[in-house]
Amino acid sequence: MKKLLVVDDEVLIAAELRDHLERMHFSVAGTAHSGEEAVELAGRLRPDLVILDIMLGDGRMDGIEAAEVIRDRFDIPVVFITAYGNEQIIDRAKTVDPLGFISKPFFEDELKACVELALYKVDRERILRDSEERYRSVVVSAVEAIIIADIRMRIVFWNRAAAGMFGYTAEEIEQRPVLELIVEPQRKALAVEMDRMVLTEEKDTSGRTAETVGLRKDGSEFPMEFSLSSWVVRDDIFFTINARDITDRKKIDQMKTDFVSLVSHQLKTPVAGVLGCIDNLLSGIAGPITPEQKEYLLLMRDISLRNYRNVNDLLNVSRIERGVVEANVKPWNLKRILAQVLRDHRSSFREKGLSLRIEGGGRRIEAMADRDKLYEAFSNILHNALKFTETGGITVRLRQEDGRCRIDFQDTGPGIPAELQKRLFKRNMVLHGAPDPKRGSGLGLFIAREFMTLQGGDLSATSSPERGSCFRFTIPLAENQRTETTDGR
C-alpha cells in the first residue's frame, strides 16, 4: 500500500486531512508542520507522495522550497494544497512538477480523486522510469558500440563502448557527423545506405551486418562490423548504429589460414618426396629393377598417392568449413578439363582393364567454371568409380540443355547400398559404419558436391545393383552457348 506524508503548518488542518485520507483507506505515514520537518520526515519515512501546503507559516522554508528539496534529494513527488489562487504562486509551484493541486477548503471527493490520480501517476512514472533505466543501462554498458545519429547524420548519443572504440568522449563527439567515424573512401557507401533507408522507410537491416574500416580519434584505423537501423519519434528520424571492432577475429582468421598453409606444407612435402623417389626408381634412372621390386614400388606409390589425396581432402574440407573457399568462375573449355582428368587416371583404367566410353563428345562446350575445382570434383568422382568398378567400364555422357551442361559418369560397379545413398554427400559419411580402407577419407564426394555448388553447378547420384552408379554433374554454360540447346551429339 502506498504511503502518504501530510504537511500543513496548521496542526488542526493537518489532523483533519489525515483523518479524511485514512477514512478513504489511504495510508498516512506521518504529518509535518514545517518545511524543514517535511524534508526530515520525507527522508526518514520515504512516502510515495507528499501532500503539502504551499504556505508554511512556521520555519524559513515554504512549501515550494520544501517540495523542491524533497524531489531533488529523495525523488518523491508532491501534491500541493493551497488556499490562494494567486497566479504567481501557482506558476512558481509548477516549476517543481507537482502531480496535482488541491484547493482549500477541499471537498472529500475532490481530495480523493486528486490523491488517487497522483498515486496512479506515481506508478506510471515509476514503471516508465524503470523501463527507461533498464534500457539505458543495457545501452550504456553494452560491449558493442551504440551510436545514435539524427536525420542530418550527426551524432546525438554515444555509449561507453563507442567512446572506448573510437577514443572520443560523448561531449567531444556529439553533433559531429557520424561519417567521420569511418575512413574517407567508405563514407559515401554508408551515406547512400542511410539515405536509402530513409527513402524506402526500411526500419532495420538487423541480421545483415556489413564490414567497413573504422577511424579513431588518433587517426588509426581498424576493421569494423556494424548493423544499421532507423526509427521515427514524432516525425523525427534517427539512426542507430551498432558497431564492433573485429581486429581480433581478423587476426584469428589469418592465424587459421596460416596454420592450414603450414600444415599443408609440412604434411605434403614428405609424401611428395617419397613419391618422387619411387618414381625415379620406377623409371630406372637408379639402375635396373626386377619385376618383383617393381610390384613393391607400385604398391608404395599407391599408398603415397592415397596419403597425398587424404591430406588434400582434409585441407579442402577445412577451407570449405571456414567459408574461405571462393570460386573463380570463367568460361572454360569443359572438354579440355575433362580430358585432363581422364588422362590423369589412364593408368587406373589400364591396370584394371576397364573400358572408357565418351558419348556426346562432338563439339566444344564452354562452361562457366572454376577450372581447379571442376577438375577436383571430376577427379574425385572418377577416382571413386574406378575404385569400386572391377569389370566393365565407365561411360561419360555429355548433354546440353536449358543453358547448362550435364555430365554423367556412369559405372558398371556394384552400386551404392540404399542406406548409404542418403548421406552420400555428407561430410561425416565416413563416421558411419565400419571403416573401409577402400573408401578412403570419405570426404571426396562431400568436396565434389561443395565445389560444384560453389561454382553454380550441382552434383547428384543414382545407383542400383543392376546398373551400377551414375553421378550427374551440371554446370552453367558460358553466355555465348546459352541460346543454343542441342544435345551436343
Binding site: 606444407h265 605434403k268 612435402t269 618422387g276 618414381d279 625415379n280 634412372i285 597425398y308
Partner: protein, 131 residues
C-alpha cells in the same frame, strides 16, 4: 642428341630429397645441374651462372621463391631465363601469383612425377631460340 641437352639447370630447393630426385632425373637426361639450398643463394647463382632454366621451389629460407622470381624478371640480365615453379603449394592464389610474376609454369610437387616435369623442361628448352 647428346649436344642438345648440354643446358644448365639451376635447382633452388631446400629439401635434400627433392634435390636428389630432380638431380637424378635431369642428369640422367644429360643436363648439367647446379643447386642452391635457399632463395638468396639461388638468386646469387642465377646472376653469376646465368642458367638456361630455373626449377624453383616456393617456400624457401632467406628468400621466397616468388621473391626470387620477381628479381629474375626485374633484372635485364636474367629476365629471359625460363622459370618453372614447383611446390606443394598449389592454391589458386599461389598459382595466380606465380604467373603474374612471370613464371613459365607452376607445377605441384607430388601430383606429377619427376619424369613429367622433365618432359615439361625439355619442351620449354626446345622452344627457346638457340643461343
Amino acid at each position: 642428341m647428346e649436344g642438345k641437352n648440354q643446358a644448365t639447370i639451376l635447382l633452388v630447393e631446400d629439401e635434400p630429397v627433392f634435390r636428389l630426385i630432380y638431380r637424378g632425373v635431369l642428369q640422367n637426361a644429360g643436363y648439367t645441374v647446379i643447386e642452391a639450398p635457399d632463395g638468396q643463394t639461388g638468386w646469387e647463382m642465377i646472376r653469376e651462372r646465368k642458367p638456361d632454366l630455373v626449377l624453383l621451389d616456393l617456400i624457401l629460407p632467406r628468400m621466397s621463391g616468388h621473391e626470387v622470381l620477381h628479381n629474375i624478371r626485374s633484372d635485364a640480365a636474367t629476365r629471359d631465363i625460363p622459370v618453372v615453379i614447383f611446390s606443394v603449394m598449389g592454391q589458386e592464389k599461389d598459382v595466380e601469383r606465380s604467373f603474374a610474376l612471370g613464371a613459365n609454369e607452376h607445377r605441384m610437387k607430388g601430383m606429377e612425377s619427376p619424369v613429367k616435369i622433365l618432359g615439361l623442361i625439355q619442351e620449354i628448352l626446345n622452344k627457346k631460340p638457340a643461343a
